[in-house]
């Protein structure tokens, strides 16, 4: 309770500071809108449905791309950890492509797929896959060998070894890898939405982009706040419970 109160207070102070900076009139209100006008924009966009519409379009793209990215990345990561050949080929490729900022995929995606949903999806998947591959690979390689030895003596091999020992043993790494994959997917999608104009769905990135075109700073900041909130919520709803479970089981974490 006390923690929640302190946190609320912190954010209230932040908004108040913003308010007084605007009041002081240092910057033009075109460049720095007041919290009030941002709030009004958000309320209006929420009421006329643009915000919900854009959020649902963006979140759907994100989820689909992310899940495909994991579905490809996880098995690939297991393969790179298991086979030297795959490690030297796919593994090296993953390492290289992971360093490529996902915005760099956009020109290629546009030429290959045109201004379509496929282009969006492609960019998100490319942003996700490689970091998931590398995190999975790292996870498997960091399993204490004693677990594998113990499992072997008890007769665990093949599929049983992979599903009952290697996967759960590398779970802490897999989860942080998935979290990282999520962050990359989110960034890639926003970049794609800002750069790629398509007619099939108007996402948050597009709202942000048009806010800039129209010099509607209240819209720009409002949409940014929405994007931040979605990121925060996913972390709290999707990843925090899993991480708590792992800390609880493994006895890790200081608190």
């Amino acid at each position: 309770m006390r923690r929640a109160l302190l946190a609320t207070l912190f954010f209230l102070v932040l908004v108040a500071a913003w308010h007084f900076i605007v009041k002081a009139g240092v910057w033009s209100s075109v460049l720095l809108p007041s919290p009030q006008s941002v709030g009004e924009y958000l309320l209006g966009a929420f009421r006329d449905g643009t915000l919900l519409q854009a959020t649902s379009v963006t979140v759907r793209r994100l989820l689909v791309g992310y899940l495909i990215g994991i579905a490809i990345g996880l098995p690939l990561g297991l393969l790179t950890s298991a086979s030297r050949f795959v490690e030297d080929t796919i593994g090296v490729m993953a390492l290289g492509l992971q360093t490529l900022p996902s915005v760099c995929w956009i020109p290629l995606a546009l030429l290959w797929f045109g201004q379509t949903e496929s282009a969006m999806l492609f960019v998100v998947i490319m942003g996700t896959v490689w970091s998931v591959v590398i995190a999975t690979d790292t996870g498997v390689r960091n399993i204490p060998p004693i677990f594998a030895r113990a499992a072997r003596t008890m007769g665990s091999r093949g599929l049983h070894k992979w599903t009952k020992v290697i996967l759960p043993a590398s779970l802490p790494f897999l989860v942080s890898g998935m979290k990282q994959g999520w962050a990359f997917a989110w960034r890639s999608l926003m970049a794609a939405e800002i750069y790629v104009t398509i007619l099939t769905g108007f996402g948050l990135g597009h709202l942000l982009h048009y806010g800039r075109e129209l010099h509607a700073m209240d819209q720009v900041i409002g949409v940014m706040l929405v994007i931040i909130t979605i990121g925060l919520l996913t972390d709290k709803i999707l990843f925090s419970p899993v991480e708590r479970f792992l800390h609880n089981r493994w006895g890790t974490g200081l608190r």
Partner: protein, 268 residues
């Protein structure tokens, strides 16, 4: 197999180490870990392998377990060559090697679940039986990290006993524990071994520990790893690690151990 038979246990196996040699080669050096080791261990015998670090005693245990292969020679378990790890020869390690993603009972169930011919309900009963045998029935749902070092090794013992192996291989299982906990575990092991007779090969560098537990203590020397001497321990059980008789046996073995070390040093 019925639950009664399952709890009754299979008869222990005999082991024959036949002329086993093993080298470890790295780019910098070659270590002759085991040099023509031959050793017979009879059904239900408790044997301790003792020696300085690097004498190859743990390597031999790995070979008996099937976790490592010898460069020469072979190991026979009940007259069949050991080629792979198998659930008839389970291993207890110095670290408990319990799986943190499973709770205590889940860990004990791990090996049992890999055993065919049992229903899950029976497996759970077997697991509970062994948890009780090591005195931790209250901790079935506990997480691994909540246990003390001694409790972890007890669970590891229950996990190794539960699938009903015919041989138990123990690689310095108590080395990381404090003296009081160790003493408690010595009496536990003796009590459990009386109830479920297994062939046990126990690796340690603690001479007293070896004398307290073993029917026979086998002394190794290193560079290359060889069997130097064997000692039968005729002290009746249950044995108390602090008894004078035990101390005398231990002193005799320690002298032999030191003698070999000095001999080794003068060779170098």
């Amino acid at each position: 197999m019925s639950l009664e038979e399952e709890l009754e246990g299979l008869p222990p196996a005999n082991l024959a180490v036949e002329d086993v040699s093993k080298w470890f080669r790295t780019s910098r050096q070659t270590v002759h870990a085991l040099d023509h080791i031959s050793l017979n261990i009879s059904e239900g015998e408790f044997v301790c392998l003792v020696g300085p670090s690097g004498c190859g005693k743990s390597t031999l245990l790995d070979i008996i377990a099937g976790l490592a292969t010898p460069d020469e020679g072979r190991v026979m378990a009940d007259n069949a060559p050991v080629l792979n790890p198998g659930r008839h020869r389970l291993v207890m390690f110095q670290e408990s090697a319990l799986f943190p993603w499973l709770n205590v009972i889940g860990n004990i169930m791990f090996g049992l679940k890999l055993k065919p011919g049992l229903r899950n309900k029976e497996r759970l009963e077997v697991a509970k039986f062994f948890l009780q045998l090591v005195g931790l029935e209250k901790f079935a749902a506990a997480h691994v990290h909540e246990l003390s070092g001694g409790m972890k090794q007890r669970v590891a013992l229950a996990r190794a006993l539960a699938p009903n192996p015919r041989v138990l291989l123990m690689d310095e299982p108590f080395a990381a524990l404090d003296a009081l906990t160790r003493e408690q575990l010595y009496s536990d092991i003796q009590r459990i071994w009386e109830k479920r007779r297994k062939t046990i090969v126990f690796v340690t560098h603690n001479v007293r520990e070896a004398v307290c537990l073993a029917d026979r203590v086998i002394l190794f020397s290193r560079n290359p790893g060889r069997i130097r001497e064997q000692f039968d321990i005729p002290i009746p059980r249950p044995r108390d690690i602090n008894s004078i008789e035990l101390a005398q046996h231990a002193a005799q073995i320690t002298r032999a151990l030191k003698g070999h070390s000095e001999e080794e040093a003068s060779h170098e």
